[in-house]
Amino acid sequence: MRASINRPPTPDAEEDPPQKELSLREIINIKLIESGEKEKLMELLRERLIECGWRDEMKALCRAYARKKGRKNVTVDDLVQVITPEGRASVPDSVKAELLQRIRSFLVSSSL
């Protein structure tokens, strides 16, 4: 047989599974956005976090950090790093549960 007839095997056979996970996540994200549900979820989460004072706590952390470091030396990345650990940990359980419930029912209803 001539060499040119044989097609070489596709090179990225090993990379397929990670790519699949990524693309499922992306599919979910796309569906969320297209249906408008992502925006609703964001608004809901924002509202709950404001109500329970979470947002004020995060702003206080930022203010304290800015005061310490000097108002003009602060970057957005700094602040994100400052708030993220505490922010993720201090979301009230009820808020998290409510959002998770809504996300799950969305996933179910979109047969994802």
Binding site: L24, R25, I28, N29, L32, K38, L41, M42, L45, R46, L49, R55, M58, K59, C62, R63, A66, R67, G70, R71, K72, V74, T75, V76, L79, V80, V82, I83, T84, G87, R88, V91, K96, L99, L100, I103, R104, L107, V108, L112
Partner: protein, 169 residues
């Protein structure tokens, strides 16, 4: 409940939360950099305290002070308004801060002013005598006559107007 779905939901939630964290960070960054938050620096805070002290004085009793107060744009105003404009009654250039006393004399609360005014306004009134109320006058503030000259008056009556209450036939 299937575990992958819970995991996906949790990932979604984290994603949402990260967005909101980024929003808060961005807003706080803006506030910090623009100096919108009062207590961020000691020096600035002292500066703001002194400005605020003045503003507070103004809001509580600033009318009495009059001078050296700061308005919301940070401007100060002299106690007596100094702009000059033209009196719409006599046409003279008047300093704004002295307009009220001028207007009293100009439009007449005293005898002299009233005598002078009635002469000029009588002429005007005669023109309007048949139907419309006089538009030249503002109502007098004296005790005897507080109403406008009614319709149908003829000239000459105005000269007695000042001295007694006007009676309608």
């Amino acid at each position: 409940m299937s575990s992958p779905r819970s995991q996906q939901a949790s990932d979604c939630f984290d994603d949402l939360l990260d967005c909101i964290i980024a929003d808060v960070a961005s807003e706080c960054h803006r506030i910090a950099r623009l100096g919108l938050d009062r207590n961020l620096e000691e020096e600035e805070e002292e500066l703001r305290r002194s400005v605020q002290a003045r503003v507070a004085d103004q809001s509580s009793g600033g009318e009495a002070n009059g001078k050296n107060v700061v308005d919301i744009f940070g401007q100060t105003h002299p106690a007596i308004a100094s702009e000059i404009f033209e009196c719409m009654n006599c046409g003279r250039p008047i300093v704004a801060g002295r307009f009220a006393p001028h207007l009293e004399k100009c439009m007449g609360k005293g005898r002299k002013a009233r005598a002078k005014a009635t002469r000029s306004s009588t002429i005007a009134r005669n023109r309007h005598s048949r139907g419309s109320p006089v538009s030249v006058y503002a109502p007098y503030s004296s005790a005897t006559s507080t109403h406008r000259v009614p319709n149908g008056t003829v000239g000459g009556v105005g000269e007695e107007y000042a001295d007694h209450a006007f009676e309608e036939p």
